[in-house]
């Protein structure tokens, strides 16, 4: 199969799914009934692109390969095409999107069973995959922006999927608007690039190092980074992601863990040549990433909703990826993006499986037992006895995200920390700070993730009448994806071995694949370093990283095995005010509401609308009133009938014409 055909297949199959699962059932009600067919189509249109992408991956090709379809927009000098760019970077992304994506679709077949809008769910999910593939495969920023806004739209639709709940609809709107703030910066970056280069094609942008000033490059990179903080939920725009958990859990796994949030990182990696020319902005990126990682990790410690823990952990892990981008290690940020996609999808789907089980408990309980929130870890506990497959896979993913040696997370996270260290070693002071914050956050990560595992699966069941009412393990369509993802979470890291492994004659495959042989000529650029960290130091760093992960997990295991839920109270007592800030997510939402949203909306409602009515319109009406009084003398002429006015106008005009001609 030719490359062009494969690319078309990859991009267009999901769109076919949208038509079959979305448009047809919308107009023909009978097409909504067969859940089996809808689920099968929905999954197949993502799985087929995955197979095609694997084919491309195995077949090999000369990169970059551009498939140009047609000119999308053109005016004057400016033009942008619908064109797709296949290189190692976009192919890796496409593999993650379609691979993890098809597993999540498969999982959704069971998870969404019985939902009244089953068809709509799959249509939205397919549309999401379509948009995401446009985002990663686009050959220019404008088409990428289509995917960029498109995934924003799909997340809006999916977060608000159960829109009868006011809360969900509000969360959806919030996600879209916060994303749009980032998109605003993305747009400005494009305006700048078009003005300076006349084009948004990646080929032109990435080759244009000499023709635009350093200041402009810095501005473009900074604006793109702001755009990235929106999609990838970094400070200051991270507030939408935790609320986005209002969507069905597979949505959280797909959009808010494995794919959409990674688009900011992808953007920076795609622009790596440009980013490397803006060292100041890189420092900002790294520091913002480190700050986000730390802040989100502390918040995660104090959350009781299982999905919220995962949401904040996503934000924190994205922070790690931004650290990598900020120290110029773009291939590592993609590497961590990939391993994170495995374990975070596994964790979210595992959480979904737990929620599925707890729903059953909620269903079986009587009203007299009180309300049970199926996402609240405080009423879980001891689930390992009832949901063994979910438990083991969740544990595997937890160990991976904690960075226990030889799991996927270990390799990718350690590489980030190493790259930060290396950059610091090379003379960039900010990198030291990033490195230390990263190490500390890694410790917190191991702790809070193990906490979530312990509170959910270990200890004694805490829901009412736990002896009689018990949850069951989820069906196979749900557990098979869990197992696949868990296996990837454990072994997926071997594609990116640390530099120390070179001593054994082993290569870092992902580095070669993305950055090219020895870091040259690949899709992703590498920074030029002058100093090299000695092998012994690197080995020590690896040991330190391992020790931190193991001690974090070990401590949490001991702590929560002993205290179970009371452990939270002890933490609260220990940290007091600080804990209050953590559980309230530092009250950023409230602050935004008070300083920006509230005043702006208040101004619109209380000042501008009355201003428009009374002042702008009022002046005009007053003017009319003055005219009316002036015209009192000739009142008889003013019959108030519009026909007479018109007649007057025509006559008046005729008189003027006559005057002009005779004069």
């Amino acid at each position: 199969m030719s490359i062009n055909l494969s690319v078309l297949l990859i991009v267009l199959m999901p769109l076919l799914g949208v038509a079959l699962n979305g448009l047809i059932p919308l107009f023909w009600k009978s097409a909504r009934r067969s859940e089996g067919r809808i689920g099968a189509i929905g999954t197949a249109v993502v799985a087929i692109p995955f197979v095609a992408a694997v084919g491309l991956f195995l077949g090999g090709f000369e990169e970059p390969h551009v498939v140009r379809l047609y000119t999308w927009m053109a005016a004057g000098e400016f033009s942008a095409s619908v064109a797709y760019r296949v290189d190692h970077l976009s192919l890796i992304m496409a593999l993650v999107v379609t691979g993890v994506g098809s597993l999540i679709h498969l999982y959704s077949i069971g998870y969404m069973r019985g939902d009244r809008s089953y068809w709509k769910f799959f249509a939205y999910m397919n549309l999401f995959i379509f948009m995401m593939l446009n985002l990663v495969l686009a050959d220019n920023l404008l088409l990428m922006f289509l995917g960029w806004e498109g995934v924003g739209l799909c997340s809006y639709l999916l977060i608000g999927f159960w829109y009868e709940e006011e809360r969900n609809s509000a969360a959806a709107t919030k996600a879209f608007i916060v994303n749009r703030v980032g998109d605003f910066a993305f747009l400005l970056a494009m305006f700048l690039l078009v003005r300076e280069l006349g084009s948004l094609d990646f080929g032109t942008i990435l080759a244009a190092d000499a023709s635009i000033s350093q200041g402009t490059i810095a501005a473009v990179v900074f604006l793109l980074f702001i755009g990235a903080t929106g999609k990838s939920a970094q400070i200051p725009l991270f507030v939408w992601l935790p609320d986005a958990m209002a969507g069905p859990t597979p949505v959280s796994a797909l959009i808010h863990a494995a794919t959409m949030v990674t688009s900011g990182l992808y953007l920076l990696a795609r622009m790596s040549v440009l980013v490397l020319q803006a060292p100041m902005v890189m420092a900002i990126i790294a520091i913002v990433g480190a700050a986000t990682a730390l802040v989100a990790a502390t918040i995660a410690i104090a959350q009781t909703d299982i999905k919220r823990v995962l949401a904040y952990s996503t934000i924190s892990q994205l922070g790690f990826m931004f650290m990598a981008a900020g120290v110029g290690a773009f291939f590592v940020s993609i590497f961590h993006l990939m391993t994170h996609a495995f374990f975070k999808a596994c964790l979210f789907l595992g959480a979904g499986s737990v929620i599925h089980g707890m729903h059953q408990v909620e269903h079986d309980l009587k009203e007299s037992d009180g309300h049970l929130d199926p996402q609240d870890m405080r009423t879980m506990g001891g689930l390992k006895a009832f949901m063994p497959r979910t438990r083991w896979t969740y544990l595997a993913a937890t160990l991976a995200i904690a960075g226990i040696p030889l799991t996927a997370g270990f390799f990718s996270k350690d590489e980030i920390l190493f790259k930060a260290f290396e950059m610091g070693y090379d003379g960039a002071t900010y990198a030291w700070l990033v490195w230390i914050v990263g190490l500390f956050t890694a410790l917190l990560t191991a702790f809070y993730m193990m906490r979530s595992y312990m509170l959910t699966f270990e200890g004694t069941p805490r829901w009412p009448r736990a002896g009689e009412v018990t949850p069951h393990e989820s069906p196979h369509t749900m557990t098979i994806p869990l197992v696949v993802l868990a296996v990837c979470s454990i072994v997926g890291g071997f594609i990116g071995l640390p530099k120390a492994a070179e001593a054994l004659g082993l290569k870092n495959w992902i580095h070669e694949y993305l950055a090219g042989h020895n870091g040259h000529g690949g899709a992703v650029a590498d920074p030029t370093l002058h100093a090299h960290v000695p092998l012994a130091t690197e080995l020590i760093l690896i040991l330190v990283g391992s020790a931190i992960a193991i001690s974090g997990v070990w401590y949490a295991w001991r702590y929560f095995r002993r205290f179970e839920l009371a452990g939270d109270e002890l933490l609260r007592a220990r940290f007091g005010r600080l804990y209050h800030w953590w559980s309230g997510a530092y009250f950023v939402d409230k602050a935004y509401q008070r300083t920006i949203v509230g005043p702006l909306m208040g101004m619109a409602e209380k000042a501008l609308a009355p201003f428009d009515q009374h002042v702008v319109d009022g002046l005009a009406n007053d003017l009319a009133g003055v005219m009316r009084r002036l015209g009192a003398a000739v009142r008889r002429v003013h019959s108030g009938l519009i026909q007479h006015y018109v007649l007057g106008i025509v006559l008046g005009a005729a008189i003027i014409v006559a005057l002009l001609i005779t004069g």
Binding site: A74, A75, E77, L153, E164, E166, M601, A609, L660
Partner: protein, 538 residues
């Protein structure tokens, strides 16, 4: 078929068709008759489009014999034709004809015949506006649209219809009378200068004449004021919400879809080439007003409780983009403005249609009377969401193309301060999402709070017949805008060349980027000379 005859038919068939419609007895017949007339007109305009030569898009095509309108003593002629800037607006006009007739099928119950006859008259007026190449002829068509619209609002409107109708007419008329004075004076001047003393309102002669820069300023103001009120540009917009809220759905669709475009079209067609100096002098002012309108319109939209009023204020915001594009004087921004006129006609037209459909079901426009209706009317919701997204400028739908080209073009414009204005204008992208999604979540999502909303009927076939083509066009223009952009590009290019040529005698610093690409201003020769000298001395 002869193009000239065809064009005459496209303009006057509705007016001619009004005669047999007048003779029809029953309401159904009137509706069907009007539908046939408007549909045939639309079909003919499509034939015209097929015959139109895009390569020669800068030229006026299909012109019939331009006979004198009053007497041979004046050079006032029936000069009509179509160039790249008029074609799409003409087709949009004829397209909305049948759309409005179908959408009024059940909600116009009284004076059915009068309503449809007025619609037909309006169609001719609007088509004429976009085809006239004689300023006085333009003026006649421009005014011709006023009277039917006045009655449409005044007779079939809501509670405060009389107030709204009179306000609409007075506002527009104040502007257009001033413009008439300017036209007469201009024709007189040009007649003396280039037409052997004979008064002329010929479009090309007026351009050829070239108003002396000293006179341009106030003539420009008189013209621009008329159009600014029509668009409407902030702060002349307050007639619009009243007119929209009171107008029947069909009236609102035409108002938003076409009548407002007569303002922006007039600015491009007349103000820029007639008064190039003044237009550039005033560019910053208009751009500022445009940006104020974008933000102000969006914020005031957010504060509305009436869905129709919200959509009305959103027009102020959206047309701000068009005005910004016009006064940025770049090919990209003007092209964006041209396509945005079409886009706004489609998406805001569709918004009014949908709000009208809801009104027909529940007889209320208050957003708080809805809520959660996505469950009861899924198809209507689908079209609403699509239209809202188009309106909010989501890439892949029509609105994005126009907005992006306008902003990207304006950012590269040489008009001073433009980049900063563009930054402010771009916040409109965020604000549009704020008020539009807020409307969606209030009306369509959340729990169903009013019992009456539970039994609401979803779209019927007739309503689908209206919305499906609109939606299809929104997607088509979003995915494949190039063929549409290509139509107006030569004409817009020619316009910028004309402006450039007219202002060349007194070189302006603010010219369009594509024109200036090779001529950096101020010239950098000094640098090069300096460089050469130094290297020689070494």
């Amino acid at each position: 078929m002869d193009g000239a005859l065809l064009l005459n038919l496209v303009i006057f068939l509705p007016l001619l068709g009004a005669i047999p419609v007048l003779l029809l007895r029953d309401g159904k017949g009137v509706r069907v008759g009007t539908l046939v007339v408007t549909a045939v007109t639309f079909g003919l305009s499509l034939v015209l489009w097929l015959m139109f030569s895009v390569e020669r898009g800068a030229e006026v095509q299909f012109s019939p014999h331009a006979f004198p309108l009053i007497s041979t003593a004046f050079d006032i002629r029936y000069a009509v034709g179509v160039d790249g800037m008029s074609l799409l607006l003409l087709v949009l006009t004829t397209f909305l004809g049948p759309v409005v007739v179908i959408s009024s099928w059940t909600n116009v119950k009284s004076h059915v015949k009068a309503y449809h006859v007025l619609l037909l008259v309006l169609q001719t007026g609007m088509a004429g506006v976009f085809c006239a190449f004689d300023v006085l002829l333009f003026y006649v068509f421009f005014e011709l649209t006023l009277i039917p619209m006045y009655f449409l609002i005044g007779i079939w409107g809501g509670e405060r219809r009389i107030y709204a109708a009179i306000k609409f007419v007075l506002y527009t008329m104040v502007g257009s009378l001033l413009m008439l004075v300017a036209i007469l004076y201009l024709g007189h001047l040009a007649g003396n200068a280039v037409n052997g003393g004979v008064f002329t309102s010929d479009y090309f002669k007026l351009i050829e004449y070239g108003v002396p820069p000293s006179l341009q300023s106030w003539l420009f103001v008189l013209f621009a004021l008329a159009f600014a009120i029509k668009v409407p540009i902030f702060p002349f917009h307050t007639w619009l919400p009243d007119a929209h809220v009171e107008a029947p759905t069909g009236g609102s669709v035409i108002l938003a879809g076409i009548l407002l475009k007569m303002g922006t079209y007039g600015l491009v067609r007349f103000c820029l080439p007639f008064f190039p100096h003044a237009a550039q002098d005033y560019a910053v002012l208009f751009a500022i007003l445009a940006v104020v309108g974008i933000i102000y319109g969006a914020l005031v939209s957010r504060a509305q409780t009436d869905a129709k009023k919200l959509v009305a204020f959103s027009s102020v915001s959206h047309l701000g983009f068009v005005v910004l594009g016009i006064f940025a004087f770049t090919l990209e921004s003007l092209q964006g403005a041209m396509i945005q006129m079409i886009n706004h006609g489609l998406s805001t037209g569709a918004l009014f249609l949908i709000v009208g459909m809801l009104y027909e079901r529940r007889h209320t426009r208050k957003m708080s009377d809805y809520g959660g209706i996505a469950r009861t009317v899924p198809r209507l919701t689908f079209f609403m969401v699509l239209t809202v997204l188009a309106s909010a400028g989501l890439p892949g739908l029509n609105g994005f193309v126009g907005e992006f080209l306008i902003l990207v073009g304006a950012f590269a414009s040489d008009i001073p301060g433009m980049p900063i204005l563009v930054i402010f204008a771009t916040t409109g992208v965020i604000l549009a999402a704020v008020y539009l999604l807020w409307m969606l979540s209030r009306m369509f999502f959340g729990p169903i709070t009013t019992e009456a909303n539970r039994s609401m009927k979803d779209l019927n076939r007739r309503e689908l017949a209206v919305l499906v083509p609109m939606a299809a066009l929104m997607i088509l223009l979003g995915v494949l805008p190039r063929p549409f952009l290509a139509i107006s590009e030569p004409a817009v290019d020619r316009l910028l060349e004309t402006i450039q040529a007219k202002t060349e005698s007194a070189p302006m610093t603010d010219c369009g980027v594509p024109v200036c690409v090779d001529e950096a201003w101020p010239p950098e020769i000094g640098w090069e000379v300096g460089f050469v000298l130094t290297s020689d001395s070494e």
